[in-house]
Amino acid sequence: MTVSVPTSVAEAVSLLAAAPDSLVLAGGTDLMVEVNAGHRSLDRVIAVDRIEELRDWSISADRRSLTIGSGVPYSLVMDGPIAELVPALAQASRTVGSPQIRHVGTIGGNLGTCSPAGDTLPVLAALDAQIHLRSVSGGRTVSFSHFMTGVKRNSRQPDELITGVTLPVLPGWQGYSKVGVRNAMVIATASSCLAVDESTRSVRVALGSVGPVIIRCTDAEDWVVGQIDWERRAVDDGVVAEFGQRCGVAARPIDDHRSTAAYRRRAIEVLSARQLRRAFPNG
């Protein structure tokens, strides 16, 4: 077994090129769980947590987008400047695991694992995040909807490193809500991110834990924009209820050890209706 600890992206991608079967280790909060449970054995490990470029974030010159390195831990996203720019991502990060998990767990690891219950993923889907990947042959960028391809599947190639994500800084309300059995340390049984873009007068909704991938509720999104009084920031109660139902219809939940499909669909109806009301508080 070998453990490499590169300090630059260039070094990391050349290690990956030399041995694409290597495991990239960031915070280890998914990978080490599998190792400890005996589900995965380690052979070649590339630990990327000392690559400073991956632990950085920046805002574009026009302040309309934010790029966050894949190695940025949740504890950095939860509050401070990133939380002001993308509040939904901060809310999602705050719900992950426990302080111990949030100190080391990263957005890149959430993307690498690509669980439908990954808490940052509905936010990345709702905001049409761009995922940056790098290999020795160069970089490429894919939208989140092309990145996540199934349950714990994504379009990352074995020789590619996830380097970061770019998100728009939107004018308008946004939030992330999650249902689980308790407040701390809980994997979502259903989750929803709603983001309003006042500049284009659009509403985006993405659902987690209710399908093999994160689901965008395009029907509900398109329908609701025409029902909103944008000047008064108002929607009728009937619209709120129908919006919830339309989001529930978009969900594709299953029965499993954590919950039932029926409960999950109902949870989505309630969460998305509540979020729409928070976004447009006036009746």
Binding site: L25, G28, T29, M32, N36, A37, S98, P99, H103, V104
Partner: protein
Amino acid sequence: MAEFYSLRVNGVDREVVDAQLGESLLFVLRERLGLLGTKGACEQGECGSCSVLVDGELVCACLVLAAAQSGRDIVSIEGIAPAGVSTDVQQAFVDAGAVQCGFCTPGLVMAAHSLLERIVDPTDTEIREELSGNICRCTGYGRLVEAVANVAKTRIALGGNRG
């Protein structure tokens, strides 16, 4: 394949010999370095009994790959207080009846120290959130929260002078 690397634990450079590179920091602390204060239970990041500080951050040692930690500052419960001496946090736990079977105590003491380093005067909610990664099956948590609040109060009364 047996390997050799070194770790800085509680301020001392320690050689880890005859280890497998896939071992967790929890395993290495206990089984290779004989530091038995850090406890292991779930090895899934869920219980917090293995909490240690790596470069000042509270983490679950069971989820840390030991062989990738060379050059980092690792502090385990043994580094918080020398044997036989109690910190103010440890004493407050005892006084509040927050130590029952004691299995969760090292992890919770680490979490409490880490919290009070960052937040001098935590609210009840902050204490509960910061301790939310540590499971205790005995105390029902009330005494733990009380112990941490008592330390904060005492430290403030003493003008930041750490006992």
